[in-house]
Symmetry: C3
Subunit: 265 residues, 3 copies
């Protein structure tokens, strides 16, 4: 049941999977660039006329509702239908769930109408998706009043999917296997886009590993180990982010093997 993140990193680089995104307009560049830094091939496309075809040449689909509109969600549904038909993994970043009714409604529509393989959010977002009472403030905070690990496991079982709750220790569960990923650095919380990039990292690894709980844990660990290394020489959040791309690009499997902190629960 242990996760070998280093081997999956090697697999990502060897296979260079195409990762199709319909993501938010704030961090779209970062999502594409982190996928590329991992050695995979990002593609961003959202026109309803082409999303099915684009998902048809991809090995994973990443959806992020951070700057959703009604039309954009319809494109996500088309892309997800195509991904579902082909059996490639679909990651849904429920960015900002709980902040507005639209975000909640559209998150549930996507979850109910399409097969979502991996739900990813922070504590308050996932709690909302799990139907737990929670207060959200903006897109990156919120208090959670339930045991988060239980919430993740329950949601994973309820939706028959993998659930990722990002935080100081990330929770990854498919309702049966549950891991904590304890890598990462405090500077990640000081930069816009680290959460969105985490979803892209997860999608990239899920493209090469069908056990999505392992893929998600490995993707998060590799990404966060790179963050740890980037923080060593960073002078603040600006330089940290650029060095994060450097470190993801240069990340050695041996370093991953030595530093990974993926613990079964």
């Amino acid at each position: 049941m242990s996760v070998d993140a280093a081997s999956l990193l090697i697999k990502v680089r060897a296979q260079a999977p195409v990762v199709h995104h319909l993501t938010n307009w704030v961090t779209i560049y970062d999502c594409a660039n982190i996928v590329k830094a991992f050695g995979a091939s990002p593609v961003m496309a959202h026109a309803p006329e082409e999303v099915e075809e684009m998902a048809g040449i991809a090995s994973a689909l990443v959806l992020n509702i951070g700057t959703l509109t009604v039309d954009f969600i319809e494109s996500m549904k088309l892309a997800a239908a195509s991904a579902n038909k082909r059996g490639i993994p679909v990651v849904l970043d429920v960015c900002g769930a709980g902040a507005t009714r639209l975000r909640d409604e559209k998150s549930f529509e996507l979850l109910n109408e399409r097969r979502i393989d991996i739900i990813k959010g922070n504590a308050s977002e996932v709690a909302r998706i799990a139907g737990k009472g929670v207060s959200t403030r903006g897109v990156d905070s919120g208090e959670v009043r339930h045991n988060l690990i239980e919430v993740a496991i329950d949601l994973a079982r309820q939706r028959a999917c993998t659930v990722v709750v990002t935080g100081e220790a990330d929770i990854v569960s498919n309702g049966r296997d549950t891991y904590l990923v304890k890598n990462g650095h405090a500077l990640m919380a000081a930069v816009v886009g680290t959460g969105c990039m985490a979803a892209s990292a997860i999608g990239t690894f899920a493209a090469v590993e069908r056990d999505y709980v392992k893929a998600a844990a490995a993707g998060l660990a590799c990404y966060e180990i790179a963050a740890e290394l980037a923080a060593v020489t960073a002078a603040g959040p600006g330089t940290f982010k650029e060095r994060l791309f450097d470190e993801v690009y240069k990340l050695l499997p041996q370093t991953v093997a030595e530093r990974q902190r993926i613990e079964p629960v």
Copy 2:
């Protein structure tokens, strides 16, 4: 009548206000990231179905017409109506005003149909909004043929708002109190997004200080002091921008107190 920028910086960090943006697609990341670097909480949302609700949980609203469309302006009006109702500050960056009829018309619509608390632009943009003859070339230049300080004061009185004219010395006036902010660095003009981030800085400080002329002057001063510090070690506009985020994040109130150059007119 003096402005204590350091105290307002402390207040921003303590309150971590949510700053809702409907901004342009070129610099949307930078706008979000500068707010976060200041210790506040950015949220970007533009769907007509959610903007009122999102403005309803924010402490300030920042609008920027840099990549406007007709629909996007309608979303801005919905968000501004919600902000007006709650009495939170609305900043309007009249990015590119004067370049096309659409930009002029939509700027005036926003100004006439909603309460805009702070109008922000460069010399040619503000002159155009003030109804003064001016030639604009692109979005970041233009000759101004009127005394800029008078233009700012007149516009502030006419619109009963605060007016910010960015430049080597920024002008901030509510028609009664007028300041020049003389911080900043020449490299700011060599990077796309420094103007948009200035509007976000102003919005962030207006979220915690109801005297908007002081908030705007303080926000600009803090942002521009960080730019001065970033320029010290930057090798050009690329590294300058990353270090700007570092310096905003690390900015000490004492440094602000020592370096602020906010002069009453």
Copy 3:
């Protein structure tokens, strides 16, 4: 028939042309920022109500279909019609051509309905536009089964335009004069946006030089010499990209003259 890239760089800085873009949402910031780093003036505008007017104050128009929608292509057509009327150069980056039917169809619509002065793409994209069989995978790869230089020359003659095929050696041809640009660095392929920025560099130089094959070769050479310099101190793709902006901004004509590798075919 030799290309004097250094002189064109001086001309760009002296004239500071306005370069209007309708580009993709992933790299829109980078496209704007590279134009600014060259000393020119970027403007991004896509609303159908203003694109003709905006193209009317520009000295070049850059189109990029990377995140196309049907409506966005209609705005491109309006802008291109305005540019055609005024005789300013129109660059089309056929980003992702070959990946979906929509991209192919819309590329051909633009090429057939408007005058495109410079077609720019990677090997697989240009081969597709030239009607050659090619397999595309994502937006930045693909195998080409024809002699690329011939493909470029043929397409340039067929469309009576300049064709740019980016790669380790870039091909630039107007069907009569053909050059290889051999500057650049391997790290460019590890960062999202280097291809899009190449189109912006070409547009910037075409704004000041009516011989578009020379303009394209010079723009690419300057941009790629800056990349070579950036790579010297970069620790990976993240820091490389920031330093690329630094080096473009600081690029000395003398350095360009010494390092340019533009070879007639």
